[in-house]
Symmetry: C2
Amino acid sequence: MPDGVGLVETRTAVVADPDHPFRLENGATLEKVEVAYETYGELNEDRSNAIFICHALSGDAHAAGLHQGADRPGWWDNIVGPGRPLDTDRFFVVCANVLGGCGGTTGPSSEDPATGSPYGLRFPLVQVRDLVEVHRALLAELGIDHLLAAVGGSLGGMQALQWAIDHPGELDGALVIAASAHLSAQNIAFSAVAREAIMSDPDFAHGDYYGTDGSPDRGLAIARMIGHITYLSEESMREKFGRRIQDSDAPRYGFDVDFEVESYLRYQGTSFVERFDANTYLYLGRTMDYFEPFADPTYVQHQIAEGDTAFLLVSFDSDWRFSTSHSRRVTDELRLAGAPVTFQEVESRHGHDSFLFEIPEYHETVAGFLDRLATERGIG
Amino acid sequence: MPDGVGLVETRTAVVADPDHPFRLENGATLEKVEVAYETYGELNEDRSNAIFICHALSGDAHAAGLHQGADRPGWWDNIVGPGRPLDTDRFFVVCANVLGGCGGTTGPSSEDPATGSPYGLRFPLVQVRDLVEVHRALLAELGIDHLLAAVGGSLGGMQALQWAIDHPGELDGALVIAASAHLSAQNIAFSAVAREAIMSDPDFAHGDYYGTDGSPDRGLAIARMIGHITYLSEESMREKFGRRIQDSDAPRYGFDVDFEVESYLRYQGTSFVERFDANTYLYLGRTMDYFEPFADPTYVQHQIAEGDTAFLLVSFDSDWRFSTSHSRRVTDELRLAGAPVTFQEVESRHGHDSFLFEIPEYHETVAGFLDRLATERGIG
């Protein structure tokens, strides 16, 4: 693999202020919205080579490259860089933390200008559409009004999908990876248990734990552990851990961590707590629960007819969180509305997390799709 | 369906006392063991018609019939009674709460004779083998030293399997339903999260919450909610709940219970807390994690050769907790050891919970297997 994008830093843009408040889908307004973002590569003269990365529930603006002093690159570094599918020799790539996030973009941990205290649960409920509108406001700040593509996995794919539907003609392509347009009862059930774990933690304090001694770390860790089980496939768990005992040949027979898989999950839970805000977890989880972009088929049909966005849907055969049937349903709905859709199920044992892995078939599919879009736009 | 077994009551037997302590597999001893049990039907003169029901994690001794004043029958009433597969016109059926339980049998909530206080986490870790030995001690009290069959689903099936392996010649048949001889990494992961939820609840108090103001209700409810998701199939959840909103046509957009599936799960969690002890949940969950009856193949082979127990293995095609592959592995191991095994995968959309449902193919399979055993024994 060639070297990546090198040193990068996260910047912040202000996209709403008291004179230009941001109005959400549900009618609420925010008097200040800051957005944390990163860019990789160069915008060409026509401003025609921009690709926007939409991140998933626990992601952030740092998709690629290295921060000063860091030893690990951004979360999607394997797909972004010179010669990689999101080729920074060719494309100008933007990634931003979502509205409601905790990675520098305004969210429940931000100060509510009306009170001078953090919003907590007074932050308005955000919908996928709101996330997209904030990204669009950022692009307007950057002088970009058209994208070669919006691309994302999981909640990121939901954003790419909503973007394409709401703004015909704005995207040449939408890459919707390991996503869904319609959480299943089982998906919502897992989300509900995670939420219950956070909200029933006594340190949650109805969301007002900022600046107090406590924070709902136990609840958030449990939510993350549950999430992790659904991100991995049964097969990959078996391969990775089996029934092996941590640091021992024989079981210790007790209630402490004993099996390797327990140790792994506990680490995932406790390390997540250090970098993530429980309220953001609640908000973005709920955003996914309520996502239903095809609720009004007439609207979708009308919108699709207005534009000519090409869609790439990718699913992974071992993903049981958003299985292939989810991507198939999106494909069917889009085709019914008249959109051109390429659908690819990729073989992978990594479950839902596959979209983060460097899987040749997957990366070639993404690279090929983007190359086609770029060629059509005359991007060299 | 004909009427069931009618009014029943739970009785208690003492199977260990200071003069005859109970010795566990791990070497610990219990100076007092009480067992709660129920019986249905009549023991015949030869004492050859007894069937023992082993219950699952959240079960108890009350498998069938009605308690005085109750409006709901025991948890397996549809399979036990006159004319039902466990035909009480023909068989003497016994069900007992397991060691470590909270339904009348000695467990972590019982008084430790050494201290006069409840055991809490000072109760010894129990293995499936210990559960079986306590059941056998109960049967000895009842004057029964041979069973037509031991039968159980999930943890109950594990007990039937261990019983057959450890005591050749004691069972004519072992009915191992929706069970496993080897929890997968994913199974252990779910178990670990449930345990984490209970043990990280501040009211858990290291297991010594008895007689205090609090008890780890939040943690136990979350554990139960997680469990419930794994007991149902994705398909049955979709059929039962879909994305329907509770008592409303339109979403309320908030963090409270909104979708029907959330309401269902919350009810399952909160109602469970009223009838179940968190420490028992921990103990029996861990018992399942560590279960590995085929760890010593030489032992199993020797034991199987000593007896002539016939095995019936049943799995359900939508069960993703203990999928058909779990039952197939048990079948393979038993056949390798030379045991006669009938294996049947039953079509059902109810997931792991299928073993509790009245599914014709399933009930006919159980009835047919028991009838064959009874006929061979000359039971009319």
